[in-house]
C-alpha cells in the first residue's frame, strides 16, 4: 500500500508550512523529493516518521510500519563507538550475536571497518555521515527516510554508496523517500521524483524517471 497524504495542514503558529497538500509515495519504490531549502521538505519527512504532529489531514499506509531515518545531522551517540552506535538500533530487536554480525556487515559496506572502535569525535564529517547511513541501512525498516543523505561526501564515495544502496535495495525492495538538492543525484537512483515548492508546500512537478541506473537495471 502506497503512502497517501491527503489535505495535509501544518503550521507553526502563524507560519503555514502546508495547506491542502496531497502526495502519493509509491510502495517499494525509491522516491526523490527536490525543492528549495526551507520549503518544508524536512517537515514532511518528520511528519511521515511520526516525529511531528500535524493539525489536519489524513495519512494512509503507515500503520504498523517501521522507519529508518538518515537525518540532516549525523545524530550519533558521542560517547559510543561506531559499532556501538549501530548496535544501539539493533539491540532492541536482535540477540547479541545477530546484532554484532549485522553491525559488522554494514560497517564494512560503508568502508569503515578499520574505524569500528573509533568515537564520532575522532571521525571526519563525511565518515560520521557514513556511520549514520550504515545505521539506517542496518535497521530492518519498512520505510527508509533520508534527508540529504550524501551531503558533504565526495563524488567517488557518493557513487560507491549509491551503488551499494541499489544493490541492497534490489535484495529487499523497501519504500525509500529521500530529500535532496541535487537533480543528478535524484535522477541517478529514484523511480519517481517530486519537485516541490513552498511555502506553503505544493507539488510543482512529478517526474517518472526513465533514464539512468534505475530503468536500466530494474
Amino acid at each position: 500500500m502506497a503512502i497517501e497524504i491527503k489535505n495535509l495542514y501544518k503550521s507553526y503558529g502563524r507560519l503555514v508550512i502546508c495547506q491542502d497538500f496531497n502526495i502519493i509515495l509509491e510502495e517499494n519504490k525509491i522516491t526523490g523529493i527536490l525543492g528549495p531549502s526551507g520549503c518544508g521538505k524536512t517537515t514532511l519527512l518528520n511528519i511521515i516518521a511520526g516525529l511531528e504532529e500535524y493539525q489536519r489531514g489524513t495519512i494512509k499506509g503507515l500503520g504498523g510500519k517501521t522507519f529508518s531515518y538518515i537525518f540532516q545531522e549525523d545524530r550519533l551517540l558521542p560517547w559510543s563507538t561506531v559499532k556501538e552506535n549501530i548496535r544501539f538500533v539493533l539491540d532492541s530487536i536482535y540477540d547479541d550475536q545477530k546484532a554484532e554480525k549485522i553491525a559488522n556487515q554494514y560497517i564494512d559496506m560503508v568502508g569503515l571497518k578499520e574505524y569500528a572502535h573509533y568515537y564520532p569525535k575522532q571521525l571526519s564529517g563525511g565518515m560520521k555521515q557514513r556511520v549514520a547511513i550504515a545505521r539506517a541501512f542496518a535497521y530492518p525498516a519498512d520505510i527508509l527516510l533520508m534527508d540529504e543523505p550524501f551531503k558533504g561526501l565526495d563524488l567517488e564515495l557518493k557513487t560507491g554508496l549509491i551503488q551499494s544502496f541499489l544493490k541492497l535495495w534490489k535484495q529487499d525492495k523497501r519504500t525509500v523517500i529521500f530529500v535532496t538538492h541535487d537533480m543528478d543525484e535524484a535522477l541517478s537512483f529514484a523511480h519517481y521524483i517530486y519537485i516541490l515548492e513552498g511555502k506553503p508546500l505544493r507539488i510543482k512537478e512529478k517526474i517518472r524517471n526513465m533514464r539512468g541506473v534505475v530503468s536500466d537495471r530494474f
Binding site: 511520526g50 516525529l51 517501521t66 529508518s68 537525518f71 545531522e73 544501539f88 538500533v89
Partner: protein
C-alpha cells in the same frame, strides 16, 4: 635548569608546596608567639598524636563519618530521583524549585538551630547535611536531564529503541558529568556542615563536639588537630570519589 627538572616531577612539586605552606604557618606562629592564638604545626601534630591514642578519638571520627555518609547518601538518592523527575516534568520542577531556592538561601546556622528544635542531637547533623547537599545534587540532576539532546531522543524514537536502552545509552551518559560535578561539590560541603551542626548539637561522640570542647578549654593545638582531621577526611573522600569515577570511566 635545575628548577625545571624539579618542577617536572609532580610529586616533588606537591611536597615542596606543602612544605612551603607549613613553613609559612610555623613562621607566623613564631612571630605571634602565643600558642593560644596560633599553635605551631609541630604542636598541632603532637596534639593529634596525643589524641590518636585515645579510643574516644577514633570513636568520634567513626560517628561523624557515619553521619556524613548517611546525610550524603540520603541527599544523593533523593536529589537524583527528584532531579530526574523534575527535569522531565516542568510542573513538578516549578512546584519544587521555590522550596529548593529557599533551602539554598537559608543560612546553615538557621537550619542547624531549627533542626535542634525538631530532632535529637545525634540526628541533627544528618538532617543538616542532607538539607545542604540535596539542592546541589537536585539542581545538577535537573540540568543534566535538560541537556539531554532532543535530537538523539528523536533518533531513538524513530528506531524504536526500547526504554531501558534509551535510559542506559542516552540519559545516563548525558547526566553523568553533571551528577559527578554535583556530588563532588556536595561531598566537600557535607563534611563542613555536618561538623558545624555537631558543634551546636553536641552529640556524645562527634568531631564537632570535640572541636567545641577544645575551644571551651582554650586548647588551640587540639582545636587545630581536630580541624586538620576534618580537612584530611574531606580531602580523602573527594580523592577516593574521583579515583572511583576515573576507574568507572575507563570501562
Amino acid at each position: 635548569m635545575k628548577i625545571f627538572t624539579i618542577l617536572k616531577n609532580k610529586k616533588i612539586t606537591r611536597i615542596t608546596i606543602l612544605i612551603f605552606w607549613l613553613a609559612i604557618w610555623e613562621i607566623a606562629s613564631l612571630l605571634i608567639g602565643r600558642e593560644v592564638y596560633l599553635p605551631s604545626p609541630l604542636n598541632t601534630i603532637k596534639a593529634l598524636l596525643a589524641l590518636s591514642i585515645r579510643s574516644k578519638f577514633w570513636y568520634s571520627i567513626a560517628m561523624t563519618f557515619v553521619r556524613v555518609v548517611a546525610g550524603f547518601v540520603i541527599s544523593c538518592i533523593a536529589g537524583v530521583i527528584l532531579g530526574i523527575i523534575c527535569g522531565l516534568n516542568r510542573f513538578l520542577y516549578d512546584l519544587l524549585n521555590p522550596l529548593v531556592i529557599a533551602i539554598k538561601s537559608t543560612p546553615v546556622m538557621s537550619v542547624i538551630i531549627i533542626a535542634l528544635i525538631w530532632f535529637q542531637s545525634g540526628k541533627v547533623p544528618i538532617f543538616v547535611c542532607f538539607l545542604m547537599c540535596f539542592p546541589i545534587i537536585w539542581t545538577n540532576a535537573v540540568e543534566g536531564i535538560r541537556q539531554v539532546s532532543k535530537e538523539l531522543l528523536q533518533m531513538a524514537k524513530v528506531y524504536r529503541v526500547n526504554r531501558s536502552l534509551i535510559i542506559r545509552r542516552i540519559y545516563i551518559p548525558s547526566i553523568g558529568p553533571y551528577l559527578i560535578a554535583g556530588i563532588t561539590t556536595a561531598l566537600g560541603l557535607g563534611w563542613k556542615v555536618t561538623v558545624a551542626a555537631e558543634v551546636l548539637s553536641n552529640p556524645k561522640f562527634s568531631i564537632g563536639g570535640n572541636l567545641y570542647g577544645a575551644k571551651v578549654y582554650l586548647e588551640s593545638a587540639e582545636l587545630f588537630a581536630w580541624t586538620s582531621v576534618v580537612i584530611i577526611l574531606s580531602f580523602t573522600f573527594e580523592y577516593l570519589f574521583k579515583y572511583i569515577i576515573a576507574r568507572i570511566e575507563k570501562y
